[in-house]
């Protein structure tokens, strides 16, 4: 579908969903299932028993209607690594996972450190049409960590970059990190740090702990992440600029972020679905599908990350969808690439880890997977709780679908740690500015 989604032609009527709506705008009428009428790309009406002649109907009985999910952290690999993923296949996977917008990280080849590359990625997203692609700009030229990239030019480009990250690498030079934080204040930018002290993690393969000692794999100490986060929070406070912490993975990191927030400092944080569910014990058979940066940690870390997401210390879920071709994962652990895909399974994993355990309700899911990510990314038109007049970006999800083993989906790559695992739930439909990108669980 290459149509410009500014004006969705058809009218759609979503019937009988449990709507996660804006409490301020719903005046109590949404205690039960309701209908959503979509017209001209926006929500025209919400309420029980709506009718609309000529509108196509989506039966949403038993389904939850969430604001379209927003991913703050995705790797689409294009330009440069199209063998692993393209904007087309990655955004298709995103739509199937219920996402209406993704932030595409800058560690492409060439690196997205100029207006030219970010605009290319932005355009590829519009052409593919499965979801909005908001490019992330690199913090430093070539991700080399030595000099700032042209942050302002990227902000002014058609791609309107606001989120900057060297993800994949850490901006480890404290002076450079300070400058970057200061510089982006001019255009309400955010620096998203991949917190990994390079010296403490040289050659590291797996969380440093009992497993790494037993398996003879070089350890990745938690302190390499925690010390960097502590430093960056202090820097952000010092220059009063927004810091976002990528893929928090340890209980210690949570404690530091909680402390920083208690001081009122401008710090936000994300956690991946896999860090909410999986531990380093899965590395037992050296299957590199479980090799990821930051590494899977212990059960105690998983428990603390869940609590933190529930109480909002961690603001949102971000997939860090990291596709790799088969040969990069079908090899000895120490040779294998780091990373897991996750766009298509994210919502199901969050249901398993957070909703089914009673830690978060669906309103909370909407907040952590749509509202806050959009706010942190300064993304307009997304992350808006459903209300009359708002853009029709909607995810329809069936939490009661019979648990099904995870298979391979639309992503070009196969490196999912959940392969064969049974997860609950099913994304039934995704609507982007009034036009469905996914219907009945398939690309529309």
């Amino acid at each position: 579908m290459t149509a410009d989604h500014i004006s969705g032609q058809a009218a759609w009527l979503i019937r009988g969903a449990t709507v996660i709506a804006d409490p301020a705008a719903s005046d109590g009428r949404l205690a039960g299932p309701a209908d959503i009428l979509i017209s001209g790309g926006s929500v025209a009406a919400i309420g029980p028993g709506l009718s609309a002649a000529g509108a196509r109907v989506i039966d949403a009985d038993g389904l939850i209607a969430l604001p379209g999910l927003v991913d703050l952290h995705t790797h689409l690999r294009e330009p440069g690594r199209e063998d692993a993923e393209t904007v087309e296949t990655g955004t298709a996977a995103a739509a199937l996972g219920g996402y209406t917008a993704v932030h595409a990280m800058a560690n492409t080849e060439p690196v997205a450190d100029t207006a030219g590359v970010v605009e290319q990625v932005w355009r590829l997203g519009r052409v593919a049409g499965h979801c909005d692609v908001q490019p992330v700009g690199a913090v430093t030229m070539g991700l080399a960590g030595t000099s700032l990239a042209e942050l302002g030019t990227m902000a002014d480009s058609a791609a309107r970059v606001r989120l900057f990250s060297d993800d994949g690498r850490c901006v480890s030079d404290p002076l450079l990190m300070r400058r970057a934080l200061e510089y982006v204040k001019a255009f309400d930018g955010v620096i998203a740090q991949h917190a990994q002290d390079p010296r403490l993690t040289e050659g590291a393969q797996l969380n440093e702990g009992e497993m790494s000692g037993r398996l003879g794999l070089a350890g990745w100490p938690a302190v390499a992440e925690e010390a960097m986060i502590a430093r960056d929070c202090l820097l952000a406070a010092h220059v009063d600029s927004a810091l976002h912490v990528c893929h928090v993975s340890t209980a210690g990191s949570v404690e530091i972020i909680r402390w920083a927030k208690s001081k009122g400092w401008p710090v936000t944080a994300e956690v991946t679905p896999h860090h909410l569910l999986l531990t380093d014990e899965l590395a037992e058979n050296y299957d590199p599908v479980f090799k990821v940066n930051p590494p899977l940690r212990t059960a105690a870390d998983v428990a603390e990350l869940r609590r933190a997401l529930a109480d909002g210390t961690i603001d949102c879920v971000a997939t860090d969808h990291a596709p790799h071709p088969v040969e990069a994962k079908e090899t000895e652990w120490s040779d294998a690439a780091f990373g897991m895909i996750g766009l298509e399974t994210a919502l199901r994993v969050v249901q398993q880890a957070m909703v089914d355990t009673g830690l978060l309700d669906w309103a909370g899911v909407a907040d952590r997977m749509s509202v806050r990510p959009a706010r942190i990314g300064r993304l307009t038109g997304h992350g808006v709780l459903l209300a009359v007049g708002c853009p029709a970006n909607i995810t329809l999800y069936d939490p009661a679908a019979p648990p099904e083993a995870v298979g391979y989906g639309a992503s070009k790559s196969r490196n999912t740690p959940f392969a064969g695992m049974e997860l609950p739930g099913r994304v039934v439909a995704t609507v982007l500015r009034g036009s469905p990108t996914v219907l009945d669980g398939k690309l529309a």
Binding site: E210, S212, G213, G216, L217, G219, E330, T331, E332, D335
Partner: protein, 320 residues
């Protein structure tokens, strides 16, 4: 069913005793006029060595040949692997050649685990990265039992290493020999202590079935066995210890330290040695040293492993 020998943790006490007792029976083979048994006739054992190791490879080769198996040696240098062939493709080639067992030595921890998923035969780990080297631990246990339990090495059938105190000294963090030995020796009932500087011990070593000491001298008078690990000079540049001199002074087994061992205590080393670093030349050549007999015991123990894995349909189920 035990198809592979990849970690010393794969072996129960009964399994380990079976291997040691079988090795005892095979040890006399070297004294017979015909030093060969027909048991593995028609079986193919492939030595897949990605790391240089003449000593271990020859040991496995001798073991296989004495059981009449056909041996194919595959060394990574100058082969398709040097040109970038993946482990998986190498495995599929071996599979096509019909290998009954693959003995693999590789620089990556976990390579035998991956290989086991791609071949139908048995995988024997001859050393993977810094993970394990189970046949080394078996030959070490065999050596200890012969020297310390049997009068002259006989009549030890069914006996473990209960009550024997073993001190393993050196770079435990990077040592596959240490990992396998800690597991196997404690399975056999020995009391194991690790002596090393804190930087050369894994962070979680507290969860291992052994004691830990930073002071070698306090351990010597209570050790029946001292096992010295090789220390690599490269560790110095990575700040594991300040200098070879300081390491040697604090953790090297010199003549003075050897004199403080109990009368009966033995000194072991998996080889190759850094004479003058972790072990003094006089100690290596002394009567307490088992370094030379460890080599002979290596062939015997590996014969036992190959026989038990390949001689029948499978490794026998053993109950105590």
């Amino acid at each position: 069913m035990k198809r592979h020998l990849i970690s010393a943790a794969d072996l129960s006490r009964a399994d380990a005793l079976l291997i040691l007792d079988t090795a005892e029976e095979l040890a006399s083979l070297a004294d017979r006029p015909i030093k060969k048994l027909p048991t593995l006739r028609g079986r193919t054992v492939v030595n897949l060595f990605f790391e240089d190791s003449t000593r271990t490879r020859i040991s496995f080769e001798a073991a296989a040949k004495r059981l009449s198996a056909d041996v194919i040696n595959f060394s990574a240098k100058g082969s398709s692997v040097a040109k970038g062939e993946s482990l998986k493709d190498t495995a599929l080639t071996l599979e096509a050649m019909g290998a009954d067992a693959v003995v693999i030595r590789h620089s990556a921890s976990g390579a035998p685990h991956r290989l086991a998923g791609w071949v139908r035969g048995s995988v024997v780990n001859a050393g993977d990265g810094t993970h394990e080297h189970p046949t080394q631990a078996l030959l070490d246990a065999f050596t200890i039992r012969r020297r310390l339990k049997g009068p002259g090495g006989t009549a030890t059938r069914g006996e473990g290493l209960d009550g024997i105190r073993v001190t393993i000294v050196g770079d435990v963090l990077h040592s596959r020999v240490a990992r396998s030995n800690v597991l196997l020796l404690s399975t056999l009932g020995a009391e194991v202590t690790l002596a090393a500087p804190p930087t050369l011990l894994p962070l979680a070593v507290g969860s291992w079935p052994c004691a830990v000491s930073f002071d070698l001298d306090s351990e010597l008078p209570k050790s029946d066995v001292v096992m010295m690990l090789r220390v690599q000079r490269e560790r110095m540049t990575a700040a594991y210890f300040p200098s070879i001199r300081e390491y040697s002074r604090r953790y090297g087994l010199d003549v003075a330290r050897m004199a403080r061992l109990p009368e009966h205590a033995i000194v072991m080393h998996p080889g190759p040695m850094n004479r003058g670093v972790e072990i003094a030349a006089e100690v290596a050549d002394s009567a307490r040293s088992t370094i030379v007999e460890q080599v002979a015991n290596g062939v015997t123990t590996r014969m036992a492993v190959l026989y038990l894995l390949l001689g029948g349909t499978e490794f026998p189920e053993v109950t105590q």
